[in-house]
């Protein structure tokens, strides 16, 4: 593993740890027994500090060190976990994240301004530590030391795992150990070959060895560390100073990579006890207490203290659990997945091409063969797309934090209720939906939820509720952001819209139309918008982002009861089941999930609606809309499409049937074209345009208001 790869892993892992830390912090408020949670937070901070130290990221180490010190006190029960503490630690977590981001984005330059921003946090952390100075200035607490009487004063413990490439890089781990001996005496060494794979898998030019070294020396820690300078990037190094505290040994045990290591060996490796003591204990176990585990014998004989054994046992248990989990999932580069999806896209296009030729050749055998093939291709496509699916729960959980922070900020008591966390959607969509959702949630809290006094007046609980809900609905995922606040003020919105010239005065608008106004650009940029208790700040940006994902957004509001914003997104961005229709010589594709039925075209002359089993069905003539040359044939068809619970028709010349459609984005040149969301390549090599049904639906319903004229 080279330096960059290792760093990338560090960044990814640190972010995960920070996320864990954050959710643990937020969980503290809801639990009675916080000991375990605090432990988890401490471990996260400690691991980040340790890894950052490995890469020489001193700024991260320095800052995290202060956090860790406070957490250590909290863990020991010397500091309380109260609201201000949680808020401070959350802020610290953010700062650690920012520091790590800064290094990732600009590794060569220190972001002085950012580091300076950490200073006030460090001050506040110090203030906590200051109150406990009395405790920490006590003489070293003896029971926290391991074997203070039996261990040498200058006995260091060095735990080192060399990376796989050290040999190939021309470095021999042996030479480091030889060099180490020049600084002192290696009093004990264990060569760890646990990582050595099976004979077949073993690469004789890779290194698999690690060493646990007991080392007597007067040297400074920095000097000992300096021995490994050349391989620092390429090895895992833990140096425990003489007379280390129990906690340090426990940390070392937890951080060791070996899996199958037996408890006794672990303790020897940690330098907690000697090999001789272990052998003696093993003998005693065989002769006297065949049923008593080795751990308790060691404790009994005073060789190790109970916490050390507990930690080692826990590590063994965790290794087993971890192994079980590991076999269930693997981490894959997102880029590789994208490549796979792209290839499958090409495969589908090629397969469609083969189908066209098979039909042209009129060979039944070939057609049969191809139908099996395309069946398989379809299944491969489905499983490949499934690979990209992730649960939305992780995204939702991020909002616990947003709600926590914002409710403090604006002084309202607000709870977040999350539903449908297990709903899956495409990873790309998940990544891009985060920002718009944050905006909607903030809006709901800031403008949606009414003040506590008003809430009590209206007979609602003083604590406001913001809800996030996700579910699947006909080929799309629906995400709802709701609040139980005051709802939108229709009159104010309408007045504002008329004032800004978005709506002609005297026009009668439906409630839905009025609500939709807040998504209009220009509506949000007005200065007085914040005076409105309705929404409006940046809603046009939200809408634009969601539309860019081929999604749509709707708003429903009841005065005094609340507002719900409904976001609909396609399940996937890459490949869909399409329904091909022909107009003149052009082919268009409608997403199959939206097609409800097909009927023969009948309409009164000059009207843009028809009678569908007694109901009015508005429709659009695609020929007119896209100005396709030529005249319509005698037999036209209507494709009835359904979106967000409403139906409308598309008038086309021919129905060509179902086909897998690989979505290719349109160049930005066509960004202004309404009603088209993308393109696709047909089996014949021709290009088909994919229809943007939500946009067409607007066209069918509000043919006038859809392009607002500024007065």
């Amino acid at each position: 593993m080279n330096m960059d790869d290792a760093l990338a892993t560090f960044f990814a892992e640190s972010r995960e740890l920070l996320e864990q830390m954050e959710s643990s912090l937020l969980a503290i408020g809801q639990e009675n027994d916080t000991a375990e949670t605090v432990g988890a937070i401490f471990r996260a901070a400690h691991t980040i500090k340790g890894s950052a130290g490995l890469f020489g990221l001193d700024d991260v180490v320095n800052f995290t060190h202060a956090v860790e010190s406070v957490l250590d006190q909290v863990r020991d029960g010397r500091l309380p976990v109260d609201e201000p503490m949680v808020a401070l630690l959350l802020a610290c977590g953010d700062h650690m994240g920012a520091l790590i981001d800064a290094i990732e984005n600009n590794p060569d330059q220190r972001d002085e301004a950012l580091i300076a921003r950490g200073a006030p946090l460090t001050e506040r952390l110090r203030a906590y530590l200051g109150t406990t100075v009395v405790a920490s200035t006590d003489p070293q607490v003896p029971f926290e030391r391991i074997g203070a009487s039996t261990c040498d004063k200058d006995l260091w413990h060095i735990s080192v795992r060399f990376g796989a490439d050290v040999l190939r890089n021309g470095m021999d781990p042996l030479s480091f150990i030889r060099y180490l001996s020049t600084l002192g005496t290696v009093t004990g060494i264990v060569t760890l070959a646990d990582a050595l794979p099976d004979a077949d898998a073993m690469d004789p030019e890779s290194n698999y060895l690690g060493f646990e070294i007991a080392f007597r020396s007067q040297a400074e820690k920095a000097v000992i560390e300096g021995v490994f300078d050349f391989v620092l990037d390429d090895c895992t190094l833990n140096i425990l100073p003489p007379n280390s505290r129990t906690a340090d040994y426990i940390e070392l045990i937890s951080s060791m990579p070996e899996e199958s290591a037996r408890l006794g060996e672990m303790l020897v490796r940690c330098g907690s006890l000697t090999a001789k003591e272990l052998t003696a204990a093993l003998l005693a176990q065989e002769q006297l207490h065949p049923e008593v585990p080795i751990g308790s014998i060691l404790v009994e004989r005073g060789s190790v203290s109970a916490p050390v054994v507990a930690a080692a046992l826990e590590k063994q248990k965790r290794v087993k659990e971890h192994k079980a989990q590991e076999s269930q999932s693997i981490r894959v580069d997102a880029e590789k997945l994208d490549q796979l999806i792209n290839m499958i896209g090409e495969l589908i296009i090629a397969s469609a091409g083969a189908n066209v030729i098979a039909r042209r050749a009129r060979s039944t055998e070939l057609q049969e063969c191809h139908s099996t093939l395309s069946d398989l291709v379809e299944r491969v496509r489905d499983s490949a797309l499934q690979l990209r699916m992730v649960k939305i729960g992780a995204t939702f959980n991020r909002f616990q934090r947003v709600v926590h922070d914002v409710s403090r900020e604006i002084g309202k008591d607000i709870a977040l209720i999350v539903n449908g966390e297990d709903t899956e959607l495409d990873k790309t969509v998940v990544e891009k939906i985060g920002d718009p959702l944050t905006h909607l949630v903030r809006n709901a809290m800031d403008h949606g939820i009414d003040s506590p006094e008003l809430r009590v007046q209206r007979g609602k609980p003083a604590r406001g509720t913001v809800s996030l809900n996700a579910y699947h609905d006909s080929g799309s995922i629906v995400i709802e952001v709701g609040d139980d606040g005051g709802g939108l003020h229709r009159e104010k919105i309408l007045a504002k819209a008329i004032e800004r010239g978005l709506v002609d005065p005297g026009r009668v608008l439906s409630d839905a139309e009025i609500c939709a106004l807040i998504f209009e650009p220009g509506f949000s940029t007005a200065d007085e918008v914040t005076n409105l208790s309705g929404r409006g700040v940046g809603m046009d940006v939200v809408k634009r982002n969601i539309t860019a994902l081929r999604g749509s957004v709707d708003i429903a509001s009841q005065p005094g009861v609340g507002t719900t914003v409904t976001v609909r997104l396609p399940l996937t961005l890459a490949i869909i089941n399409g329904f091909q229709v022909g107009v003149g010589k052009s082919v268009f594709v409608v997403p199959l999930d939206m097609v409800d039925e097909c009927v023969e075209f009948t309409a009164d002359q000059g009207h843009d609606y028809t009678d569908l089993r007694g109901q009015v069905l508005p429709f659009i003539r695609l020929r007119d809309l896209f100005e396709v040359p030529g005249t319509a044939g005698t037999r036209q068809n209507i494709v009835v499409v359904k979106h967000a619970g409403q139906k409308f028709g598309l008038v086309v010349d021919t129905l060509m049937g179902e086909a897998q459609t690989v979505i290719k984005p349109l160049s930005s040149m066509f960004a202004q074209v309404k009603g088209i969301s993308g393109s696709s390549i047909l089996g014949t090599g021709d290009v088909a345009l994919i229809l943007d049904v939500p946009a067409l639906m607007q066209e069918a319903q509000f043919p006038v208001s859809h392009t607002p004229q500024l007065a």
Binding site: L167, T191, A199, P204, N207, Y208
Partner: protein, 95 residues
């Protein structure tokens, strides 16, 4: 009767790929195998790993693998890494 396998010259990274095959083949073939290390002139981590691997492969087949005639470079490394016990073969110190 045991069959000796004599390794001459370097037992290092430079010959690791070649020697891995030789060692594993010998371990698989003979129920009792002596590896003569007296002519090993250089010995490094890669060499250590190969011997560890061979030892393990032998144990997996319930074969016996003995290291004999350790040369000075081999003894040095075994002492440095405290491996003599792991292999458990008697080492004859040179005068």
């Amino acid at each position: 009767m045991s069959t000796p396998l004599r390794i001459e010259g370097e037992l290092t990274i430079y010959r690791a790929a070649e020697l891995k095959g030789t060692l594993l083949a010998a371990v698989a073939e003979h129920e009792t195998l002596d590896i003569d290390l007296s002519a090993v002139t250089e010995f490094d981590t890669a060499g250590v790993q190969l011997l560890l691997l061979a030892k393990r492969a032998a144990a997996a087949r319930r074969h016996t693998l003995r290291l004999v005639g350790h040369s000075t470079p081999v003894i040095d490394v075994f002492e440095l890494l405290d491996l003599s016990n792991h292999f458990g073969d008697p080492i004859v110190l040179h005068a």
